[in-house]
Amino acid sequence: MSGVSLLVQPVWLILLPLVGSIMVFLLASRRAAVGVAVVAGNLALVAGSIGRLGITGPWQHSVGGWGAPLGIDLYLDGLSATMLAMTALVSLGISAYSAAYFSAAAARHFWPLWLLLLTAMNALFLSRDLFNLYVTLELVGIAAVALTAMRGQREALVAAMRYLLTTLLGSMSYLLGVALLYHSTGSVDMVLVGEAPIPASVAAAAFALMAVGLLLKTALFPFHFWLPGAHSSASAPVSAALSALVVKVGFYILLRLWIEVFPALGDGVAWLLGILGGVAVLWGSLQAILQQRAKMLVAYSTVAQLGYFFLALPLVAAGGSRVWGAIVLLVIAHALAKAAMFMAAGNLLAFAGHDRIRDLDRVVQRMPLTAAALGLAGVSIMGLPPSGGFSGKWLLLQASLEQGNWPIALVLLLGGVLAAVYVFKLLEHIFTSGTPLGEPRAVARTMEWAPLMLAIGAIVLGFLATTTLDFLIIGEPFVPGRRDDY
């Protein structure tokens, strides 16, 4: 294997952040610099593998040299490459922000955990093995909990504890599902399990267990109770990472299961999750409107936006890969916009010492870049043009009207309006002069530029919608069965 092709191996996506994490752990100083360098390297690697994907099509790597049923396969197709790109971009923004955000003492704990979280997410997006997904899922969960608890305040610890219990419950339920599938098909590789004949009742039970496990981790409506506490009490970059990336991981695996492992999925499940998604959109938005603190508002906005991904599931049966494309577009737009919003809210908190929305007036006048970041991110969250959120919303609206599915169209529109209410509740105080409260502390430049760049990314995604959608379907991720033509 020539040098270059060795380097461009997507396996490095797992190894580089891991090595980086160990180095940062052992280093005595300059952790932030090394951390940001590693994340930048990760972005370069993702870009390389995307280029390679474009040329030679999907990439498979059986670890350990053994075939699928025996060994574990890593697989890179359009969908996983897109998710890797999303993770790389957002984590670069978050790392740049964290370099300036954390004090030396806190940085000591942050960087090793953060780089391990990145390793876990990269490993998860590359893996097609159900049990391996369990291990990576656990890695992501524990890293996220550790990062949340790292801050040490009272409500951060309680929230982290609740988050840990939920994520462990989810993992256990997921693992039991995997056990059932393994014993009835003799393999844990997604595609092989999908193709193997499974008795209907076993498939139903396995799907139920795995789906509940993943929904617990994705915080869909009835299981969203742990999210606001965890996402708002964690430190700004961590809550940005949680809301933008960690929550999407559960949905990604559910999507893979939906397509590869359970092709015989009936429309009843789609409707059930669709209803839960709709309720999540409305309930999350209502709660977000009622919040008094900026970070809680943004956290509940995550609960609402997650609902959109599930709301669109009933359209998938007839809509096919176009609807999946729209959902993934929404996932990416939300990741960029939400990370920007949380970091901007973090700036507000750092600047004024509090994030009570009513008293934000005076604060935001003096941070134009943060205000711009909040504004642009809000545009994407509301689904107003020209943002990525708008493109996704337009495609979903189009699909729902084509299939005559009026309830979904109405919830999509109502969600947009409710989002406008709570985004402008936050933005309103940017343009009004209020009474000064205490002496604000200046915020570092990179802490203002990082959210702005991510917010601009969310807007630019709107213009790149078509290229993203074309890139997404390389290797037909939305069609069951493995493509062996690479």
Binding site: R322, Q365, P368, A372, G375, V379, L384, P385, P386, F390, S391, W394, L395, L397, Q398, L401, E402, A409, L413, G416, V417, A420, F424, E428, F431, T432, S433, G462, F463, A465, T466, L469
Partner: protein
């Protein structure tokens, strides 16, 4: 007239960039660099005027200017300069240039000017984008951008009153946006394309869809009606008067309101097609709604003591002339509606400039304080008088031309009741404009002015005085020299010929 394809495809982009780039740079400028900011603003305005002139000449000779960019699968972003869009662009380009000068003078030492002029340029970019949109998707994109960039200007003062006005403004425009989006997507599922074409794109749909088309028409009109201040959706306009004068002058009298009216014209002409819309039977209700708005606006304006609120209600009624012109399915009425789009812009911006002058120089906000103001500020009041007479429809000011064509169009279509509406509205206009003139010219001022400011060379700073005088004379010229080629009336005729007659 040969224009190289490369050049003709980049011109629309250049036009949008001519206000977008200065805007973005101004955002980054420090508050103190006044000269650089003004220079950037004026440079942007002048380059836009130049580009518009070039395009006017090109389109007059049937050249095509179009830029396409793939936004969504099957739905490109199209910027196209055709006759109809240039009518609106010329108006906004000229008035942006004048309003920039006015705004520089008006916001002499007030805070947040970089932020103000940044959003100001974004608004004009959005207006030009709305005008040049080649399909409904691009139209919605710039339409929403207009909402987003005007909101900060409405709440620029930062007072709680401004914030509440901003809330009302958002409430209406966001709901309008949702209606527009639903209508557009539903239309797309029926027709498969949203591109504007002279005879519309829905005429070949089968009869089964007609009921859906009517609902879509209502949705689109609801979305556009918010900004065009049609009757039930006009509530935000009077409240938005809390914004500084240049904002209410350019935006709420010209850019934002006209975007809605322009949208109605686009949808009726290039989506439904005027004949097909008539057969659908949606034109008569629109005409009734427009007439009701005309009368309602004027009646409400009668009893506003605050000058800017009276002008705002007058805008509510005047913009519906355009909708009325379009709803009367006839070429002459359309000419009347289209030409009013320009005339009303010229006249109304003069009135708002003068209102701004009175507020800025003498601290007058209410009509009851305007006794004998003409003695102190003759030139401003002269411009105000010309514009008011124009609004009433007295020749030779431009307002007469549009009312003449609307009257004729109504007669041509046989809708005689429209003549009554026009007459009634003119009478009401007289009833609420003439007392102001009477009070300004013929009554003695009681005591001194609330916050008087003296200026060396003229009654007020030149930057505040020159724009209204220019726009007043433009309004007079548009009326007096109506039949000069490239005049608003001739250009409106050209548009109607291209929209109506050739297939």
């Amino acid at each position: 007239m040969i224009i190289s394809p490369a050049f003709s495809s980049t011109l629309p982009l250049a036009l949008v960039a001519s206000s977008l780039l200065p805007g973005l740079i101004i955002f980054a400028l420090a508050e103190e660099s006044v000269r650089l900011r003004t220079a950037l603003n004026l440079l942007g305005a002048l380059s836009k005027l130049l580009l518009v002139a070039l395009m006017l000449w090109g389109v007059y000779h049937d050249a095509a200017f179009e830029t396409r960019f793939e936004l969504l699968p099957g739905l490109p972003l199209i910027l196209r300069a055709d006759a109809l869009s240039l009518l609106f662009i010329t108006l906004s380009a000229q008035l942006w240039f004048l309003t920039t000068i006015y705004a520089v003078g008006y916001l002499e030492e007030s805070p947040h000017r970089s932020r103000f002029f940044g959003f100001f340029s974004l608004c004009v970019t959005a207006t030009v984008g709305v005008a040049m949109a080649g399909n409904l998707l691009t139209f919605i994109l710039f339409y929403e951008m207009l909402t987003l960039s005007t909101y900060p200007l409405v709440v620029h003062r930062g007072t709680p009153v401004a914030r509440r006005a901003g809330e009302a403004y958002l409430l209406y425009t966001v709901l309008g946006g949702v209606l527009l989006l639903l209508g557009a997507v539903w239309l797309y599922t029926l027709t498969g394309t949203l591109e504007f074409r002279p005879q519309g794109i829905v005429s070949d749909l089968d009869v089964g869809d007609h009921k859906a088309l009517i609902i879509i028409f209502v949705l689109l009109m609801g979305g556009l009606g918010v900004k065009a201040a049609l009757l039930p959706l006009h509530g935000w306009l009077p409240k938005a008067m809390v914004a500084p004068a240049p904002v209410s002058a350019l935006l709420h009298a010209v850019a934002v309101v006209k975007a809605g009216a322009f949208g109605i014209v686009r949808v009726v002409y290039d989506i439904f097609g005027i004949q097909f819309a008539a057969t659908l039977g949606v034109m008569m209700p629109l005409a009734w709604l427009a007439s009701a708005t005309i009368i309602y606006g004027s009646v409400r304006a009668l009893f506003q003591d605050d000058l800017k609120r009276r002008l705002a209600y007058s805008t509510v009624s005047q913009v519906s002339y355009i909708a009325l012109g379009v709803a009367l399915v006839g070429p002459i009425a359309s000419v009347g509606g289209l030409v009013h789009l320009v005339h009303q812009g010229l006249m109304k911006i003069t009135l708002f400039f003068c209102a701004g002058n009175l507020a800025e120089t003498l601290g007058i906000h209410r009509i009851s304080e305007m006794n004998g103001v003409a003695r102190r500020m003759p030139w401003t009041m002269a411009a105000f008088t010309v514009a008011s007479l124009g609004m009433i429809g007295v020749p030779p000011v431009a307002g007469f031309i549009s009312k003449w064509y609307l009257g004729l169009g109504a007669m041509e279509v046989g809708a005689d009741w429209v003549l009554l509406v026009l007459a009634g509205s003119s009478a009401l206009n007289a009833l609420y404009f003439l007392p102001i003139l009477y009070r300004a010219w013929f009554l003695e001022p009681e005591g001194d002015w609330p916050q008087e400011r003296h200026y060396p060379r003229a009654e007020t700073s030149l930057a505040l005085l020159i724009p209204p005088v220019i726009t007043a004379s433009l309004a007079l010229a548009a009326g007096l020299l109506a039949s000069v080629p490239f005049s608003p009336q001739e250009w409106a005729k050209l548009v109607v010929v291209r929209e109506f007659l050739d297939p």
